[in-house]
Symmetry: C2
Subunit: 900 residues, 2 copies
């Protein structure tokens, strides 16, 4: 089979197939698979990811026995291509390309035309009868090799690349504007100077021995797995560093041999919108990265039908074969050499969230995949992109539309112009919303793209680096807006009469490709408009997609989905998005608005129980009103209300000026206010006098809150609307704390039932948000009718890590993989998860049918939802906007559990 | 057996015995036991603690069926005493006294002479031929009944007791100074006014029906279990509130029938020093509480030999019989009625720590108990009292000795005079050291006594309330210093020419009974002097006691005992007190002294790694010197050094003024200092950038510290002293954090070994102080050679409770028994203990012989040590002074585990 376990061939003999991604990387596995289904793939071989692991473990050294195996594989390619590697007469050339398990576009390095030297370049010229072509291949090779293998770059991002600098000089000397205009002798001079540069920089000659060239290239590609941009990319997409990359060595075919040659990139469907249309672009007489580099703006794929009708027909056939075989939208690279089509790569196409939803649903309609497969395939977060605001069409006429580009990343983004990735990062850190404006983008810009709201390029097509990355990041992107001129030196952007500088606002409509001056107002998405009854469902195809997907998800999921909502407006939104209840209604947020904060402060500054009760009495009707509105919005679905949680000092002014205002407004002595503020100060408020500790110190607060809830329940019941209130006691660590509060709450209910002569049904439960609560969940369950995990605090206490303060070390931890994921975004299953599991087991040992939910921010995170499903939780609760994501993730969790 | 399960008799028929303490209370069980061994006990019966529980559960109502059983029991006493309860001719009187499982002296209520009314008082007079005596008994009864059952007290502590007020008027009218001088008719008038007071206050007549009297008294005694002072006492001594009290109803005998009568209290050995001498005091012609109330200063027991030789001989016989039977020092109450001795109570005597040690060891010498029993019996904390400083004898001549009292609580105490318990509490809260000065103390003074360093009374003997409570609290006490006059109104204390006001300093020598003016210098205890080689061992009996006890303990214990020591001086002390190593050496404490804080601040303010390294280089030799001295002091015993733990802002000045000083001293810009201080500020520093997080962010800090350790090791080894260093990484939550630091430490060791051409042996381990660390202890153990529980932080994180901030609610929690013990003093076994158990199991699953210790402050707490023994820990580590306590507690834990 494979050659000595390190090498898998494809071509005449094919060792691998699409199922071997982990070993061969995505590119290698799919080259093998295409070879198997008789697509025209130039022969070659793949060095496995295991070699990469060995290389990294051995301190960047290739295994000794590898080289012999490479030579065998090279011989096999020579036989198929009837050329010899390093042969001065009829040279075989190779491309050497990385290929990781998950596609990491542009992150790692590629070397083309390997095998050229001062001798073989003559052979190539003679064989192709094209001296200019041969020298162009050679100069490209030296440039890539010098950069990737020999490490000759610009010293920093502002300096020019030394190879490009030489190329520019040669163009000037030759008096030409574009590289293709350089003639053979200019190219020869260019090569001489490139070789001189290498000699000067490395103290050695450019290697003429093709074996040495190949060895160097393989090492450098493995090396590129650990380059800075790849590491950043992995971090963002949670790709483990120990996966490693494979290296693909493949016989070269040439899209740059003349006008019957081309190279291109195509998608079987539109990756931005998901529409079923052939989509892509190509460049005539070009090689490799020319298409995606964005230097020349390529032709749309449709143009090929006219220029090279046979090749176009062959491409359409490939398109169909690929979709039928892979049952997913494919993104593939091809080269046409003298009217002959070659396939260089295929992979499942990266797509926007909208496209992910549309393609999956339409493929179900087409019978290509099952509903379950569609549910599995759509990243849960994708559904959000159907809900993000769009520009208000009605307002578009009120601003200037300054340019039209290609719609490469759908959505609406407004922000301040910025011309470099680094600056974008800086401004974002200062809280600015940024639109990154570049001629084209390159892998060095990744971090700046991440920091931006949207990306605008003046060059490059829909498969350019900018478009590709923006799609994957879910960023709004308009590319190839050719009317715009980016003047980096002047830090301005010119477009007709408009001249904009850094900091001025523009707006990008990534769905239409339009660029507007200033900040354009947004409007709710179609889905939201339908849900709000502002648009008929049948008018919106997007809504049909949303509704279909949600109905499939709801059939599959077993976890309930609730929302965290503190206000009637949030409750209404949650209800519309399908929340089955409110899992967390934080009552303290009700104490900040308007006059309420004054009453709250009076309460806190009270010097006796009587004074405190008097202040609470003013708050009670306001709270009751909020509860009534929330109950009405939820129409009988359960509403979990948490009693006051934060420490009291959060409600008091901390600075002298506000204290003075408070003194004037309340008539309290300033000195007393100062003293009380000082007395309430805490070293570690997270671990201080808060949660149920407040309700125990000041029972009258819990009494007021419970009273307000029950009075609201009675009122709304009287209106004929059913209500299912669940009162939740925060920060319980000891069963007796809960017992204390439960008694108060029952007494408050009794009181309302007596006064109003009615019967109220309700439950009382607790947050599990302290390690101790999880550990003694069996005793706490005796007092509780339900549990709800407060995973924010549970994470902070279990890890001994304050979310507010972790900024000083957590980024480094994530960078060095000391922690694998940010534990405040995705639940730390290994640690916090153990406590949750204990709590569920012990709680249900006491009460087998105990309802257990989660209401921390993790409740909207798909990976955490997977875990919650496995734990057997009753529901997850998340922010209203995340409800659809959670519904889909819950379905995926159920599918995953059935068929892992 | 018992009458209907509620009532146990003693006398002619005895149902209970000493083993039934839980049911009968200590007093009831021992009355039964004394009756069984033929000691002269007046007959009576005990209402069990279960009745108390029923009474409390039923909302303070006695069980219906109880009364019939009481009547049966009363009839049985009548038969034995040949008197009838309520009989106007020959009345039987009862005492009604509380008696809990654990003695709670003076906490609950007692009623004597019950059964007297306007009729029976005549019968008593006729039978005894002593009208004055009969009326005195009646007035005492009415007064006690009025107070205890009818609730007629002074409205607050400053007001006079209404009964005492009337008594004072009667004395004035009769022109006498003392109560015994009042004649029969005055007493009759007194009784009339008492009855009038009751009528006025309650609107009802004083009850004449003796059954009603008995019922009321029983209820009131049960009630007194929940009075404020009993609740406070229970809280201090961790007595569960559900234990309840029994009630003892016993035939009265009278020590107040004339000059052949007396009442007294005695100890079989000296409870203050433990000396084997008969010890106690008595009052002729007195009843009940007169002895301990401290109103009349009683005679020392020796005087009885002269006054009533037969009774004294009988007492000596009782003393011997009691010790032989109970095999422990007894504290007993007796009454002599017309030369006949009656025993009213016996119990194991409360004793000082010193006495506990001496009595137990001497009883082993006497063959009364085994070594194991001696180890079990001595409260582990007692050993501390052999180590507390004493007054420097050489300095005594330099201050005025103003009075001599009875040595009632040994030790040395200096502090400011204060005349009321309440004021003592206030001043202590302000950080003052207080000597509470009272004529006598009463149960109302308990909290003030707790708040004081020492207690001085001008009246009362060695069994007075003050002496008794001081002994139990381990407070220094001088009582009955009759030369001193306490002037509460003038808030002064007069003694000869001296006149001292609140706030002036005095010193009490509780071992000699001396009172000195001003603050007297202290000197180390005898034990410490012997250990320091300043006194020959054979000259100190106390040292012999200490050494004997420690040698017994060391033979029995299986837990190692180490000390927490940060300085060479602490290490020397720890070594002398028997520490087998240092379990925690906190390196940060080394950064505060002298110039070091400046270097530390330079390090923190550094703007580059180079600057930081330069500052660290200045700190390194200072740290190395400390380590060398500690290693020398420990002579080859293991020393666990913890790397820097606290957040860096703890080292920076927080106020503007100190920042300016720092700017001047370091030449740094004030603005930069301000910015850095602000940047380092944290919301919750407990959960912030500290522990190993610092060592990961600034590896150069860990490198410097490890380097300093290893250089010190090399130096001390070169001196021919062996060294066993253990480097401990703090606040680890993830295995990779530890891996990161372990690699640095190994590298630092390699470096020193290379430079000095030597071989160093050392181990590297981690604190387990975060819940996550305990949960993933299996993976952490892969990187660690030892674990050490940091239970301070583990408690804070597990409970989500900041020790610094818990003062605002924890006292209430303890008061309401929401938490049973202060979790920062005694380990929360139910919660934190579970995590420790997990960590031990999982750590040892990875490494079966993993060494696991504890170095939190809980390491010196005897109850926690019990738990650590059960967990199978390798050692506990505590402050040097607690090392002997821990050695004893560890032995007790081993004994307890063998024979629970």
């Amino acid at each position: 089979m494979a050659i000595g376990n390190y090498i898998y061939e494809f071509g005449r003999q094919t060792d691998g197939d699409a199922s071997r991604r982990a070993l061969l990387g995505g590119k290698g596995a799919n080259l093998a698979e295409m070879a198997r289904i008789q697509l025209p793939v130039p022969p070659g071989f793949t060095l496995t990811t295991e070699v990469c692991a060995l290389y990294r473990e051995a301190g960047k050294k290739l295994p000794e026995e590898l080289w012999e195996q490479v030579q065998t594989a090279v011989r096999h390619v020579e036989e198929q291509q009837h050329k010899r590697f390093g042969d001065a007469d009829n040279p075989l050339l190779f491309s050497v390309r990385s290929g990781a398990r998950e596609s990491m576009p542009g992150m790692m390095d590629t070397i083309l035309n390997l095998g050229l030297n001062d001798g073989t370049v003559i052979g190539l010229k003679n064989r192709t009868q094209n001296g200019r072509f041969a020298q162009d291949c050679y100069r490209r090779f030296i440039q890539m090799y010098g950069d990737v293998v020999l490490g000759i770059h610009a010293p920093d991002e502002h300096a020019a690349d030394p190879f490009e600098e030489i190329l520019k000089n040669i163009r000037q000397e030759a008096g030409v504007a574009q590289d293709p205009e350089l003639d053979e002798s200019s190219l020869q001079e260019l090569i001489r100077r490139y070789q001189e540069l290498i000699r000067r920089r490395t103290g050695r000659e450019f290697p003429q021995e093709v074996g040495e060239q190949l060895r160097g290239a393989i090492g450098a590609v493995f090396e590129s797995w650990d380059n800075e941009r790849a590491v950043i990319y992995r971090r963002k997409y949670n790709i483990p560093s120990n996966w490693g990359t494979a290296v693909n060595v493949q016989a070269m075919v040439f899209g740059n041999q003349g006008n019957r040659c081309a190279t291109g990139v195509a998608f079987t469907r539109n990756p931005a919108t998901g529409e079923k249309q052939f989509y892509g672009e190509y460049l005539v007489n070009a090689q490799g990265e020319d298409v995606v580099a964005g230097i020349r703006t390529p032709q749309p794929i449709a143009a090929l039908e006219r220029e090279m009708p046979e090749s176009y027909a062959a491409l359409l056939e490939v398109r169909q074969k690929l979709e039928e075989h892979f049952c997913d939208m494919q993104d593939f690279e091809f080269t046409i050499e003298q009217d002959r089509l070659y396939m260089l790569q295929t992979r499942n196409g990266k797509r926007t969230g909208l496209a992910a939803v549309r393609i999956a649903i339409e493929m179900v309609d087409e019978g290509k995949i099952s509903q379950d497969e569609a549910l599995r395939r759509i990243p849960a977060d994708s559904i959000s992109s159907l809900l993000v605001p769009v520009f208000d069409e009605g307002k578009k006429s009120s601003v200037s539309r300054i340019a039209q580009g290609l719609p490469a990343g759908p959505g609406a983004a407004s922000g301040k112009i910025c011309f470099s990735a680094k600056r974008a990062e800086e401004l974002q850190a200062q809280g600015e919303r940024i639109i990154l404006c570049r001629q084209e983008t390159s892998p060095e810009d990744i971090r700046g793209m991440l920091a931006s709201e949207g990306i605008l390029t003046s060059r490059g097509g829909v498969s350019s680096h900018a478009a590709l990355v923006a799609r994957q990041m879910g960023k709004v992107c308009v590319c190839g807006a050719t009317a715009i001129e980016m003047d980096y030196a002047g830090q301005t952007l010119r477009c007709g009469e408009h001249r904009l500088s850094e900091g001025e606002a523009i707006s990008l409509d990534g769905t239409s490709g339009e660029v507007f001056l200033g900040s354009l107002a947004t409007a709710p998405s179609e889905v939201n408009r339908v849900l709000a009854g502002q648009m008929p469902a049948e008018e919106s195809y997007t809504y049909r997609l949303f509704d279909t997907l949600m109905s499939w998800a709801d059939r599959r999921r077993r976890l309930g989905v609730r929302a965290n909502a503190d206000t009637p407006a949030q409750a209404t939104e949650a209800f519309a998005l399908g929340a089955e209840g409110i899992g967390l209604c934080r009552t303290e947020h009700m104490f900040f608005e308007g006059q309420r904060i004054d009453f709250m402060r009076e309460m806190i500054l009270a010097e006796s129980v009587e004074e405190r009760k008097a202040a609470l009495a003013k708050l009670k009707p306001l709270q009751r009103g909020d509860f009534e509105a929330i109950f009405r919005a939820m129409q009988g679905r359960p509403v979990t209300i948490r009693l006051l949680d934060p420490p009291l000092h959060e409600f008091l002014p901390q600075d002298e000026e506000t204290m003075k205002v408070l003194a004037r407004r309340t008539g309290l002595e300033l000195g007393k206010i100062r003293l009380r503020v000082a007395a309430l100060h805490e070293q570690n408020p997270m671990l201080g006098h808060r949660g149920c500790r407040l309700g125990i110190s000041y029972p009258e607060i819990s009494e007021m809150q419970a009273g307000a809830v029950f009075e609201a329940v009675a009122q709304v019941l009287a209106e004929g609307i059913s209500v299912a209130p669940e009162i939740m006691v925060p920060l319980v660590g000891f069963a007796d704390e809960l017992r204390h509060q439960v008694a108060l709450i029952h007494a408050a209910a009794q009181c309302v039932m007596r006064d109003r002569n009615c019967v109220l049904t309700y439950t009382v439960g607790t947050m599990i948000e302290l390690p101790r609560a999880a550990l003694v969940a069996d005793t706490i369950a005796q007092e509780a009718q339900f549990f709800s995990f407060g995973t924010n605090d549970l994470t902070q206490t279990t890890l001994g890590m304050s979310r507010d303060d972790s900024g000083s070390f957590l980024p480094q931890y994530i960078g060095e993989e000391i922690v694998k994921r940010n534990p405040f975004a995705t639940l730390d299953v290994e640690g916090v998860g153990q406590l949750m599991q204990l709590a569920v087991e012990r709680g249900r040992k006491t009460k087998p049918d105990l309802k257990v939910g989660i209401c921390g921010e993790h409740g909207g995170d798909p990976d955490t939802i997977q875990f919650c499903h496995r734990l057997g939780l009753s529901y997850v609760s998340c922010s209203p906007k995340r409800v659809p994501v959670a519904r889909l993730a819950a379905a995926q969790a159920a599918l995953q559990a059935e068929n892992p």
